[in-house]
Symmetry: D2
Subunit: 296 residues, 4 copies
């Protein structure tokens, strides 16, 4: 199968279950909302080594937010409920509450369960906190130095999908970077998903285990390394010298599929892209199998 | 004392010892270096609730970096050597190694001790890693999907200073935000320091302990909350309705002092600023006492 | 009338007729499209001294553009058809054709007339140009150094509205800037309008004529200058020390009204804003009178 | 000659004389200064079709500006003194005076002549203007809506150099874009120069005259068009499919040479770059001939 002359491999992405939250961060201006959203979602590429997977889902204009101010929806994801609870508390408490003019709202539909993040944060008010309702939501108002921080009492989480992915194989590294950026641009218009890696793209790939160093659970996937093409039994075609992966977390499989489709179509519009492939672990580890060709 | 009509209080900032590192992140372009630096320094406002204090120190043009590419110096700070070691490993491994086209160099002068971050990361190469020298530095080359990730073998850390600070009291919240931004702009031209909070400024202040909820170690400092001015014995002057704090971490006291000076002068240039104050805990907790008026 | 405690004056904005165009600039990535759109709309605040009024209307994700790439809609406005023709030719030819990976499409609905911008630009191809159809549009393909530049053959213009406006009076300059930024954020979500001044806001106001220097047709409106409040019969209330104007050009009166409404509501959400007023010339110069209170 | 495996052709860039100005635009924050600088330098790629060549030279931190606020140095260039005078008046008057919180200073050393831009702008004050000295400079203070606009009385210009240039030939378009971006990053650290095209790079090249349409003075340089490689006697090597030009204007030949050197070295660091060439017109048109290989 080809799109715009780019080969779409008959392969599938293997996704995993993860618990996802969606938090709307509003502020006086779009720029201030972005600052808080960026701080709160940093150090959040993969739960393999980061305390959470995190990213900005979408921008919401002031006419569509509960407090009439511009905002960004961020997603925080974790496999463990306990760790998710901790991450919400700390990322909202340390990175949003401390940011200028912000408020935080729960914008996850159809939650499986609720975390009492706002309820816990209110005690920081030391008795001066208050309770109010905005747009039918129970909010806590916590006096801080520069004003009152408003935070919704509970934040829902639900079973979502992590690890939706596709690989972009390009003529060289720079065409790969640009195609990955184009893919991320397209995915950012799909609601309910994030691309948690830096700039939305992944420059490195892992395999399970490590042949040379037994103490490691994961190591570089040498079959997908462009500089090892001539040294190993490579999975990279001869003419490809730049490979990047797009990893997607979403609120459900449908969102992840929509993001993969939009991202792949965008990447195939970039000159120098040769092939789209997907990453999986033989299908034994993850609950979701998304075939690339089935997306179109 | 007054600067530009703004009162500088006769008060001091109380700073603490912290272990600091300085890492140069280079990439193919300035923008790609910024993406990696931002991801690696997120979720890093304060060790009270974040796993590290982190931020971007300065930009370095390609003519002045070891590999001739543009880069950003980031600083990662922690009180505990063990946790600092963990943070360097994960933030470089998960947020820089995974980012497009990056490399990481140690740029801390006069280190007290070394962390073997690059040495540990190299095992990810599963035997395909290599060693080389760049600019007299021992580097590891780790094959990843899109090329080779270069990382210096060791990263030094030294005893630095956390919690350098000053408060900006302004006529209203927006004048406070703008003055804080101007201060951060000025501080970003001082080498060897970061302002780890979102956008470089802090909207909330804490006191030690909590009067109403004994289970909390820290709570809002009600005496510095603008919306509580009429309800408590406030430390905020009558005409101030916007208060922001700038918190500074630096490689040494001299750098922190230079940053405080530059930041205060810049804030005093912004219309609507009334007073500069500083935060301390009575001098019993921190090793550094920096009097505001002594800076000028 | 009050919104959120801010007084909305019973006054009207006086708008003028202007000829407007809407051009979609696409590129390989969102960032590259923004670069071209920004260059093409610079030096375009007001036809009083600039060759055109110009700005970015909105972002269009790749799934909604004719060529499946991300793009920005820009608007170029002029009173004279001949000058508009010149501006389109030069701004597209010098600022978009020369920019990396771009294409330009006509996205104005219900045009009154057409300009043959693409048809004229094609001759730059020196016989190597070609013609093709994209999405039912007649396009010219012009070979340039880095590839082929695609441009629609004709660009429509229609009778639009310039000079939609409102004033934000705030406690101080910084609250005024932030409120203006919040207003611009809100207006940017309204399609069919631009705010052509720097950052979308105007720091200076003019009156017709000049009392002291007869050779000038326009001069500072001293009654609206915050630093002249005590020297002239000022129109600024005693407690206001920061005044900014938002000027809006749109494809029709309805769009301008929607933008004014969204912008005013957003500004009234910013602490330190006291009053919203509007600018007019007694109603004798412009064809459009938009009363502020009628918007709500 | 080769740099990093990239061929540096034995060819020269042909530069032209142009009149250059350097204007420091300061504002309350770095971001506000950038907004004004960007608006004032838009629509300024080449005097072939734009009213001026314009761009941002460098950022200046608040500690190094005359008014202690952050600023950007912009350069406005024109061949004609009369048109340069007009451009300074309108770009400062319409794009900087109207922008929030700005001031404008003359920062050209060794001027050949002076333009009375500030002196002319002061009449906008309608008698309320004032005169003051900052840092030994004669400034005019013009009351505007949001405060007082400060502008230096005169702005110098001098004989500078336009059209410094080099071509980047890359494996494909995307490697070319990234290499051009890296070159622009490097050049932005060289003082006294601008890269006036969108994003600092040029996607199209011209030749003098037009073979097919005699009414045109300039047309596409078909010998440098990647899509015409097989149709004409091309100057592009077989393996190159992406070509971008960097055009540099500077205050003198030395600055332009330094910029060319820094830009070429940076481009040669980007994977996928094959060759660096330069553009000239046989040496008969321009006064400056800068050989590429002589730079190293």
């Amino acid at each position: 199968m080809e799109i715009n002359g780019v080969e779409i491999k008959d392969n599938y992405a293997e996704g995993f279950g993860i618990k996802v939250t969606r938090i709307l961060v509003t502020a006086a201006t779009k720029r201030l909302a972005k600052i808080a959203a960026t701080e709160a979602t940093g150090y959040g590429t993969s739960v393999i080594g980061c305390p959470a997977e995190a990213g900005i889902d979408c921008y919401v204009p002031p006419t569509e937010t509960p407090d009439g101010r511009p905002g960004y929806v961020i997603m925080l994801c974790q496999g463990s409920k306990k760790q998710l609870d901790h991450e919400l508390l700390e990322r909202i408490g340390m990175c949003i509450l401390t940011a200028p003019t912000t408020a935080a709202f729960n914008v996850l539909d159809d939650a499986d369960e609720e975390l009492k993040t706002g309820f816990k944060l209110k005690f920081f008010g030391d008795g001066f906190e208050d309770e109010l309702e905005i747009d039918g939501r129970k909010m806590h108002s916590i006096p801080i130095m520069s004003g009152d921080f408003l935070v919704e009492s509970t934040f829902g989480f639900k079973a979502g999908v992590a690890g939706g992915n596709f690989f972009i194989l390009a003529e060289n590294q720079m065409a790969g970077v640009m195609a990955a950026e184009a893919a991320v641009d397209a995915i950012s218009a799909v609601e309910g998903v994030i691309t948690p890696f830096p700039g939305g793209m992944v420059a490195s790939g892992s395999k399970v285990g490590c042949n040379n160093y037994k103490f490691l659970n994961a190591s570089t996937n040498e079959k997908m390394c462009v500089t090892l093409k001539d040294k190993v039994d490579s999975d990279i075609r001869e003419d490809a010298n730049g490979v990047f992966e797009i990893v997607i977390d979403g609120i459900d499989e449908e969102s992840v599929r929509a993001a993969m489709k939009a991202g792949i179509e965008a990447a195939c519009n970039v000159p120098g892209v040769l092939e789209i492939d997907a990453g999986n672990f033989g299908g034994n580890l993850g609950a979701y199998k998304i075939n690339l060709q089935d997306l179109f």
